[in-house]
Amino acid sequence: MTHIDGSTLPGDHRLRCEVVVVGSGPAGSSIAQRLAAAGVDVVVLEAGPLLEPGQFPRSALKSMSTQYRDWGASVVLGRAPMPYVQGRMVGGGSPINGAICWRMPQDVWREWIDGDPALEQALPWAQLESATDAIETRLGVAPTDAAIAGRKNELMAQGAEALGLEHRPIRRNVVGCEGLGRCLEGCPKGRKRSVDRTLLEDARAHGARLMSQVDVTRVVLGKRGLRATGVEARAKSGARVTVEASRAVVLAASAIQSPVLLLRSGLGQGPVGQHFSCHPGVSMAARFAEPVRMWQGATQGHEVIGLRREGLKFEVLGFGLAVLASRLPGVGAELSRGVSELQHWLDWGVAVRAESEGRVRSVAGRPVVTFTPNARDVRLFRRGLRVLGEMMLAAGAESLHPGVRGFDAEVRDVDTLARLEQDGPENPAAFTSAITHMFGTCRMGSDPKRSVVRPDFRHHAAESLYVADSSVFPTNLGVNPQIAIMAMASLCAKNLLKESAS
């Protein structure tokens, strides 16, 4: 299987293919698999390195600096600057996510169709379901095995049960998981069926060529009209890379990078970069009398889904030791005391289906993201923290640390949690929050003034140019998106095959 490592390319390099795919994450791997299986000559370009499970580091520091873009600490600007997390390796975020799998919720799909009925023909529900079935089978998706769940996941089940909230073991793409709790640094045993080890591997087995450690700088447009004919890139070695694509260029570089690439290429038509939507999350730290050892068991093995329609989804978190410790209260001697009893601490989080939208701009060729949660989103932060705290107390927590500025640093009772929801801060900057899932910046639709790509994923203005990642999603999902991204990309591949054949 061909792999070209851009860090060792000695000189300028030129490749020819039928389709070049920019990005090797869930979208890029899915589309590459489907195209390569159909006999298309595919080249996949990835900015990050190709790493095998034996190379995954144990420390958060080494993981952040080798597997994540900007150490996982890129920052969204606005009234409440908050970090957003993106993978930067072959497989994108898939090798280093919590392995959480959700099918596309049908109620969200219905929202899309109601907003633009033309989408129904391009995205038939039955085809999305069929693509999802195939992907879930290939990735081995199944509910977390109770035998390796670990105490942190058992406690969430207890807390949710006590509150009468619907909950379940998380469906994950792992096979033979030993509960090492290291999903976010990449499974050292290779038990996660991430896209680099499944869909992309399939694509490469069918002849797709992979080039890692190359940053795509622009889409090349043909001399006659707006037709994408390839891409230009810069390898880590400094070499210039040109890829000529006779059939299509597919952008699958994420909701942050894809719009920036379009803007850098002079393709600013439509609302490119606008309608940035996401799932900001807040978390609660809790101390239990019993040792809970957050680092043991399935990294993220249990979720509470009873309030999903309100825009709230609760998950056990799977931070590494360093991030868990940094969430403890205090500094100096107090922080040292917390670290001394780290086995008694855990964090759970709640992801909010934000209503507010932001924007991605290209400033000097780099993405600048602006986003501020609105009053409704902040109200959901407060409500989510209250429910998290109530579950933790019901599960036996001694003390809670919501990490909300301007509110009690430590909480021990449900009355205080009720006060947090009702009278807590309205300023989003008061909350310790982070963003993980991003959408909408090249959204699809039938109106070229209100969308960037057509319902069949083709760019409205440039021929032979497709966007296949979550940037095309008309809205956020309210659930973890990796499977929905793969399914949508699979439909993009189907459309591309049909279109280029005709």
């Binding site: 080494k62 150490w71 600490a73 001697a333 040292s336 670290v339 001394s340």
Partner: protein
């Protein structure tokens, strides 16, 4: 980016004071060799993270003489004096983000050490 020696020493003193001495079998951050950590931090950390730690160092360097009522450099502070400076910083809202960032950096440095990881994962905390 290579920092001047006094600035580096003050930065390291701030990080070490942030997480000084856990109990039990865990070593003190001050006793760990942080040279590999700083090399990685200076070479690969995003600019805003490096700038944030520089800002925190500068802010604490300005706060320490005010909190202790005498001119003093961060890398010369005793543990009890650090506690006084940290208490003073808690009264100042602008320090909240800087303290959070410093905690993240200190914890990354501390848990990058294999021995620390082994002790914690084996349940060897106090």
């Amino acid at each position: 980016m290579r920092l001047a020696r006094p600035v580096h020493d003050m930065r390291e003193a701030l990080v070490k004071a942030t997480l000084p001495q856990p109990d039990g079998a865990l070593p003190a951050l001050a006793n760990l060799d942080l040279a590999p950590f700083w090399l990685r931090f200076d070479q690969t950390a995003p600019a805003h993270l490096r700038a944030g730690l520089w800002a925190a160092t500068t802010a604490f360097a300005a706060l320490a003489p005010v909190a202790l009522l005498r001119p003093v450099r961060l890398d010369k502070l005793r543990p009890s004096e650090w506690e006084t400076v940290f208490r003073a910083s808690c009264q100042l809202p602008l320090f909240a983000d800087l303290v959070m960032l410093t905690k993240v950096v200190a914890c990354l440095a501390y848990f990058d050490d294999d021995a620390v990881q082994d002790i914690v994962r084996a349940g060897g905390e106090a």
